[in-house]
């Protein structure tokens, strides 16, 4: 556990105004109107007493957290700015669009209560786009909405037979893997099983809250934090770690909630990124050769965890596999940021460097842990990236 994560929270008083956050901010580079991370909460938060005003910069932060990583003084600028956004919405109304983008978990739940709901939803979102409804409420029609899988992960999980084991983990799938990309969850089960670990799931886990935080629904997010942290603590008391394969979910559950709400109960040291967890065990090295070259886009929210690149460490054990880092900054989607109509172009501009890197690469596969990063890459390059767990599962498959 990184010491930055638990208990040590930095306020605007810790900002030394050095501007490192502004130099590191991918949104600033793409959007001249954005005044930059330092100027939202740390500087101009001090001036809010003077008038009821609004600065569009409050909308421009994508919460990618590049600023936090750049800060020499350990200030989580992004979280201070998300707090500011939350404060703004204490006295202002949310748009219909923001409500939709924030509540993807409950939308998914509703869809699953209707027979063929996923088809209806997928069909609905394309019809919505054609009819211009999504654009009208402020969701871009220029990119596809996430496609709902035929069956969600939690349903698929019930039909998977696993060997009982004393070594167990609880898998936290998060909304995207559960509803849109359950194959990643299946890959995780294969990997864990190949290492003699039984995977449990906890039906009482809820969304990590990231989409709510970034749209300023603080009270709802806090309720989720209460629920999830209690669940994590419960599993901790049974000595069973909680493992996530989405780097945003793991970051939020580890440290972000504690920082945002200033509440140490939400700082969870029993949560692991899947590969971070695999680094702690005696890994089964009976791995088949995968003679491929992989271009790896490291998600921002993995970088922010300060745990290095565990996926690269683990995958480098696979014979004949070569991993190259894309090293091309933020993908630009940042959760729901790039779905906002007015920010679509900015989102694509941020991603340009990464797209160019991928398009000019002759690697066999592109990979990234983050679901939104993979969607953005697919949208920007037409290549279908994989999750590193899928690659590792493939190496275990012949056994």
């Amino acid at each position: 556990m990184n010491e930055n994560f638990a208990g040590i929270r930095k306020t605007i008083d810790h900002c030394v105004a050095c501007t490192a956050c502004m130099a590191a901010c991918p949104v600033m580079r793409a959007l001249q109107d954005y005044r930059g991370p330092k100027l939202i909460a740390p500087a101009h938060g001090r001036l809010h007493f003077s008038q009821d005003d609004f600065d569009r910069s409050l909308e421009f932060c994508s919460n990618c957290k590049s600023c936090d990583r750049a800060c020499p003084n350990g200030v989580s600028v992004s979280n201070l700015n998300m707090q500011q956004r939350g404060k703004f919405f204490e006295s202002h109304k949310h748009s219909q669009r923001d409500k939709i983008l924030a509540h993807i978990e409950s939308a998914g739940k509703k869809i699953r209560t209707i027979p063929f709901g996923h088809q209806a939803a997928n069909w609905g979102s394309s019809v919505g786009k054609i009819l211009g409804i999504s654009e009208k409420i402020g969701i871009t029609a220029k990119r596809p909405l996430p496609i709902y899988a035929r069956k969600n992960f939690k349903t698929l999980f019930k039909s998977i037979h696993q060997q009982k084991s004393d070594r167990k983990i609880v898998f936290y799938p998060g909304c995207y893997i559960n509803e849109n990309d359950p194959d990643v969850g299946i890959a995780l089960i294969r990997v864990m099983n190949a290492n003699g670990i039984e995977v449990l799931i906890d039906e009482n886990f809820r969304c990590c809250g990231s989409p709510l935080i970034s749209t300023g629904f603080m009270n709802e997010s806090r309720l989720l934090a209460e629920n999830n942290s209690a669940r994590i603590q419960d599993w901790k008391s049974k000595n069973i770690p909680v493992v996530a394969a989405c780097t945003t979910c793991s970051l939020v559950l580890k440290s972000e909630l504690a920082e945002i709400f200033g509440d140490d109960r939400f700082a969870n040291n029993n949560v692991f990124d899947a590969f971070e967890f695999l680094e702690t065990i005696d890994l089964n090295l009976n791995l088949a050769s995968v003679p491929k070259r992989i271009l790896y886009h490291v998600p921002c929210h993995l970088k922010s965890q300060g745990i290095g690149l565990p996926a690269r460490e683990i995958l480098s054990e696979i014979p004949d596999l070569k991993i190259e880092l894309a090293d091309a900054g933020c993908c630009g989607l940042s959760g729901n940021f790039g779905y906002k109509k007015e920010l679509y172009d900015v989102s694509m501009k941020i991603g340009r460097e990464l797209f160019d890197r991928i398009l000019s690469s002759d690697a066999d596969e592109v990979m990234s842990e983050c679901g939104p990063c993979r969607m953005q890459i697919q949208h920007g390059t037409n290549r279908e990236p994989m999750h590193p767990l899928e690659i590792l599962a493939g190496a275990y498959l012949p056994n």
Binding site: D13, H14, A17, A43, R46, F49, D53, S57, N73
Partner: protein, 528 residues
């Protein structure tokens, strides 16, 4: 200008108040000040517009003056006064008898107080200690000394009043027991300005000026040290409800909070030094009201001297009167010489009125005082604010409008509109545009960066000039950029040095390293 009738020595609130008052009555008046305006106690204080509550037990006539002037300044100085209201809180450890005396004192002084529950007090100001046992709301407010002073000048100028800054009085000349003029020294040398009347309103320097005329006026400089915090810890003035002491008032002042004050007799008003011991003492006492106080970032410490009037054998320090005195030295054989001493910032207008009455009587001028009824400067209307809002940075419009007053505001707005590059923020912490800086910098009275700083607030926020000093120095142009940088940083450093703990230490080292490595200016000076 033709020769003035009256010369005022001292550009603090009192002198400027007199300048405005006499000018409005049609008396030809010049004010001379040895430095920039308000370099003495008129800016070196906590920025509290007293309700009078603080004096309600000890000095009810001062309390009455405070509440009356408080109401007047709210009307005439809208853009200088932030109507925060105030709160008096008594802690468990404070004498309960004082509370009842205070209630009676407020009642007989005409100060409206409202008792609120402890829960309500904590809801209004959640940062306060839960050891509060009783709380009252009072009509305290915050007032900006720099801003008020410059607006008084603007007002006086409309009626023909004039000022000369960086012009030091070096002699008071008389002939046959009658004032004939004041000798002054400024950049262009020494010369005499003839006049009929001299008003010594030099605050802490009153004794020195009196000496020039061969007179003896007892002024005891009483140093008060104050601390500035990086943000608004409280939204209203918070006073401790006990016998007035050190470190028992918090004043929200724009983006910062000021904690004051201490009281210490010093030999000279030039002594504006502050020490770590004073900082620690204020922090210790302040922490009784705000227990988490040490967790909040200090920006700086500063000190100023109250010019307490001390007639022979009179009390000093907190026991000395906060009242003021007017001396007509014709009794001592010098006709045309007046001294005004003592008093408080809150009552500057009243002091000015009283002495102007005497001066006018002497001059045979029967025009009545109008300073209480006419606004000091025209306010920027909400309509003209609306029209130019889009050119100002967000959260920057009202602050700029209040700082600038109508005429300069229009000038800045025009510049912002026609020169988009002037919309750049010169000072990011305090949200100051390049346009505002340039408009103030172009004025004749702006001789160095500090003069502009006091009027715009650039360099007075979180980074204390780390990132705006070099920008300002390059744009300013009147002096060499390196010299401007050095002067500004040394001044900043003076206030930072006593609070070099925690985050302010980090900030200071960042500042020092930037300027040493880029411009070979050591912002720490000889102090390290």
């Amino acid at each position: 200008m033709d020769n003035p009738t009256v010369i005022i020595i001292g550009g603090g609130a009192t002198g400027l108040g007199i300048l405005r008052d006499l000018s409005m009555r049609g008396v030809k008046t010049l004010l001379v000040e040895k430095g920039d305006l308000t370099n003495g106690a008129s800016s070196r204080y906590h920025g509290l517009l007293h309700s009078g509550g603080r004096y309600a037990v000890k000095d009810q006539s001062a309390a009455r003056e405070c509440i009356e002037e408080n109401q007047i300044l709210r009307r005439i100085g809208k853009s200088c006064v932030e109507e925060t209201e105030g709160m008096f809180v008594r802690l468990e450890s404070d004498d309960p008898n004082y509370e009842s005396q205070w209630i009676d004192g407020c009642k007989s002084s005409g100060i409206k107080i409202k008792k609120i529950s402890v829960d309500e007090a904590l809801k209004l100001e959640p940062i306060l200690t839960s050891k509060i046992v009783s709380a009252y709301l009072v009509p305290d407010a915050a007032i900006d000394g720099f801003r008020l002073s410059w607006q008084l000048v603007d007002s006086a100028k409309r009626f023909g009043g004039e000022i000369k800054t960086y012009t030091r009085a070096v002699g008071i000349d008389s002939h046959n027991g009658k004032i004939i003029g004041v000798r002054v020294r400024n950049r262009s040398g020494e010369h005499e300005i003839p006049c009929d009347i001299v008003i010594n309103a030099a605050g802490g320097w009153t004794g020195k000026i009196a000496e020039m005329a061969g007179l003896d006026v007892g002024v005891q400089p009483d140093k008060g040290t104050l601390l500035v915090f990086n943000s608004r810890l409280v939204n209203r003035v918070v006073n401790r409800l006990h016998k007035s002491g050190d470190g028992d008032i918090f004043v929200p002042h724009g983006s910062v909070t000021i904690l004051g004050t201490s009281s210490m007799s010093v030999p000279t008003p030039e002594d504006t030094s502050t020490s770590r011991a004073e900082v620690e003492n204020l922090m210790r006492i302040g922490s009784e009201l705000i227990e988490n106080l040490p967790k909040y970032r200090l920006l700086r410490a500063f000190a100023g001297s109250r010019p307490l009037y001390r007639p022979k054998g009179g009390a000093i320090g907190r026991e000395a009167s906060r009242g003021f005195a007017i001396i007509d030295h014709s009794m001592e054989g010098l006709d045309g010489m007046f001294t005004i001493v003592g008093g408080k910032f809150t009552t500057f207008r009243l002091m000015a009125e009283k002495i102007s009455d005497q001066v006018c009587k002497k001059l045979g001028n029967s025009n009545p005082c109008r300073t209480a009824s006419e606004p000091i400067v025209a306010e920027v209307s909400s309509k003209s604010r609306e029209n130019v809002q889009k050119f100002f940075p967000s959260f920057g419009l009202n602050l700029a409008a209040n700082r600038l007053g109508k005429d300069r505001f229009e000038k800045v707005a025009k510049k912002l509109e026609s020169e988009p590059e002037s919309r750049q923020l010169l000072c990011e912490c305090e949200n100051i545009t390049r346009a505002e800086f340039e408009v103030i910098a172009s004025e004749e009275t702006s001789t160095d960066l500090d003069d502009i700083r006091r009027r715009t607030r650039f360099g007075m926020g979180t980074c204390q000039g780390t990132f705006c000093t070099f920008r300002a120095a390059c744009i300013f142009g009147k002096n060499s950029a390196i010299d401007s940088t050095r002067e500004m940083l040394f001044e900043r450093w003076k206030g930072i040095r006593p609070v070099l703990i925690g985050q302010s230490l980090k900030q200071a080292e960042l500042m020092r390293s930037i300027y040493i490595s880029s411009l070979d200016v050591n912002a720490g000076g000889e102090l390290f």
